[in-house]
């Protein structure tokens, strides 16, 4: 669906007319990300991050395909093929490798901002629940892909990360150990595990690309949300995606590339762990196993469970860690407030920023050694994380008195700063 005032694709020259009548692919693109897609005129820069995630996906796929041409997926050859061949011998190999490794961090960074943008502006609410649900699926696929990619260099952190992560499955009662051996194709990470991780690491980005198409398709049914959360009411509320948002996104991509290049060329190992420059050694564990930074909050939740309660502590940790993401699937129905944007929700806005802080502290805990103080802090923050979604948000959405909404996007843009002006006709969307 699109708004009735959306522009129509009208191919001018005979070639494009010939193509359009046989395979209307240019028409499809025109309607999806061209002038044929009307978008709210008031999107701020937080709306860049979806496109940035798409750019990061393309960067990862392109660099990954070239790196795979030089990579040896064997326990004996993987470490050297990356740290000797690719980093020293392959032309520009060091650049591709650092771009791919830091590209993963950039990808997760923009995805986290994209997710929190959705949380702040209520983008998960009706009629965009499906956009949100597919987004959570993409996030899970992304985490799986990132984890398997981190195993491929076969350094100490790769190996012990694989050991610990597949160890989660052994927490499942009765069949857990069997599942773990099946996943690894052996009793410990080795050739079999490395090869299947490589195979899946190559496959999953294309699955993600497919899910991204569904994500955008589902988004284009109701159209993009916007910072006021008020739906588009007429043509005056929108501008065509091209050239307005292609230009705005282009600027964002420029900033993204500056940050990305700074990491690649000046701080290529800033976000990595030095232990991963030690070849995997199954007989010696690093003193402090940590995942990459983007998994720290979840690692902290995993380690927050230290006491058995009905089921073993280890299983609690695994259930809570996966539960912390699965929970997001239910968010559209946990938050019953009809107002989308936190700009008009004074209580929710506070809860949102406390959640941001909570996740940052969890991240800090997950990256630190598990000393008793850190464990207690993780426990408090993990409890708060679940309380936010299961208790605080449902209660706030019933108690809160939202600020008056603007009558339309145009009024919000041309009038005072949203929410400050009371009009008699102000209604919640």
């Amino acid at each position: 669906m699109s708004f009735p005032w959306a522009r129509h694709y009208e191919p001018k020259n005979p070639l494009t007319q010939w193509i359009d009548s046989r395979l209307p692919l240019p028409r499809f693109v025109y309607n999806a990300v061209g002038a044929g897609y009307p978008v709210p005129r008031n999107l701020n820069y937080f709306w860049n991050f979806g496109v940035l995630a798409g750019v990061a996906l393309v960067v990862q796929i392109v660099t990954g395909i070239v790196l795979a041409m030089h990579f040896h997926s064997s326990a004996a050859g993987a470490f050297d093929s990356i740290n000797a061949t690719i980093m020293r011998d392959v032309n520009a190999g060091w650049f591709l490798r650092f771009a791919h490794a830091n590209g993963a961090s950039m990808f997760l960074l923009v995805v986290y901002i994209h997710i929190f943008r959705g949380l702040y502006y209520g983008s998960y609410k009706a009629p965009r629940e499906m956009v949100w649900l597919i987004g959570v699926v993409i996030f899970l696929l992304l985490m799986a892909t990132a984890f398997m990619g981190y195993v491929l260099p076969w350094g100490q952190m790769s190996f012990w990360g694989a050991q610990v992560i597949t160890g989660f499955f052994s927490a499942i009662p009765v069949v857990g150990e069997w599942i773990r051996i099946w996943l690894l194709g052996g009793y410990a990470p080795d050739d079999a595990a490395l090869n299947r991780f490589f195979s899946l690491h190559y496959l999953l980005p294309f699955v993600i690309a497919g899910a991204v198409i569904l994500h955008i398709w589902a988004l284009h049914i109701p159209g993009s949300s916007n910072p006021t959360g008020v739906e588009v009411k007429g043509e005056q509320d929108t501008v065509p995606f091209h050239p307005y948002y292609t230009a705005k996104d282009g600027f964002g991509v420029g900033v993204f590339l500056i940050v990305f290049s700074t990491l690649i060329f000046f701080f290529p190992d800033l976000l990595g762990h030095p232990d991963n420059y030690i070849p995997a050694n199954p007989l010696s564990t690093p003193a402090h196993i940590v995942p990459e930074w983007y998994f720290w909050p979840f690692y902290a939740i995993l380690r927050a469970f230290t006491a058995d309660f009905i089921i073993a502590a280890k299983l609690w940790g695994v259930v809570a860690m996966f539960g912390s993401i699965i929970l997001l699937f239910f968010l559209p129905w946990l938050d019953s407030s009809p107002v989308r944007s936190a700009n008009y929700r004074p209580m929710y806005r506070v809860a949102f920023w406390v959640l941001v802080l909570d996740v940052l502290v969890l991240g800090y805990c997950g990256g630190s050694a598990a000393t008793p103080g850190i464990v207690v802090l993780s426990q408090i923050c993990a409890a708060y994380y679940f309380a936010h979604f299961l208790i605080i948000v449902p209660i706030i959405s019933r108690l809160e008195r939202p600020k008056p909404l603007p009558n339309s996007i145009t009024e919000a843009v041309l009038g005072d700063k949203g929410g400050s002006r009371m009009t008699e006709t102000a209604v919640s969307a």
């Binding site: 012990w160 050991q163 610990v164 160890g167 051996i181 099946w182 996943l183 194709g185 052996g186 009793y187 410990a188 080795d190 079999a192 299947r196 199954p282 007989l283 010696s284 564990t285 003193a287 402090h288 196993i289 380690r303 230290t306 058995d308 073993a312 502590a313 280890k314 598990a370």
Partner: protein
């Protein structure tokens, strides 16, 4: 136009306009049978794909390890490799055996005696996997001069799990004792593990 009763198959029905709907039950049956058959076929085809991810023959071929333990003095331990996992083989001193036996079994998180964790008549040979039952790190204590922790057995540096001289969990987050693999002494000094 046919009327009901005119040479109809026993399960044929007549539509609202009096037209004969050909044998709908027969068609339903065929559809369900065909789709079910195809579904079972697709399901069965998945089995070899799943099974191919189980440990292959060359991985399973490594699942027994033969060890000569004659060089291990009382109080010493070695790290070997079993199924690509670390294996700790340790000869306990009489004092270590006494320390393990002195612990009331009921006070343990994973109650087992030293007898249950060793072979009959070979109580001094403690053979366990060197894989912490918490998150799979390799505990310290098998190597020369490594920290054996507060209970004199093994100590996992990752999250502080401490094992005693029978390899039993005594302190820290690990839920279970160090796993004792299947093994047998084929002579006084040779052990076959797996």
């Amino acid at each position: 136009m046919a009327t009901p009763g005119d040479d109809l198959p026993p399960d044929a029905t007549v539509g609202p306009g009096g037209e004969i709907l050909e044998n709908p039950r027969r068609r339903d049956y065929l559809t369900i049978a065909a789709v079910s058959f195809a579904g079972v076929g697709a399901g069965v085809a998945v089995l070899p794909l799943i099974n191919s991810m189980n440990p292959s023959a060359d991985v399973l071929a490594l699942s027994t390890t033969e060890l000569d333990v004659s060089a291990i003095e009382p109080g010493q331990a070695i790290k070997a490799s079993f199924r690509k996992q670390p294996l700790f083989v340790r000869q306990l001193t009489p004092a270590e055996i006494a320390a393990a036996d002195a612990v009331p079994v009921s006070s343990l998180r994973d109650p087992q005696t030293l007898e249950e964790r060793t072979k009959e008549g070979k109580k001094q040979w403690l053979i366990t996997l060197g894989v912490c039952t918490h998150l799979g790190c390799v505990p310290l204590g098998a190597g020369e001069g490594e920290n054996r922790g507060p209970f004199g057995g093994y100590f996992c540096p990752c999250h502080g799990s401490a094992y005693d001289t029978a390899g039993r969990i005594r302190q820290g987050p690990a839920p279970k004792n160090l796993e004792v693999p299947e093994y047998a002494f084929t002579s006084d000094t040779v052990v076959v593990v797996g």
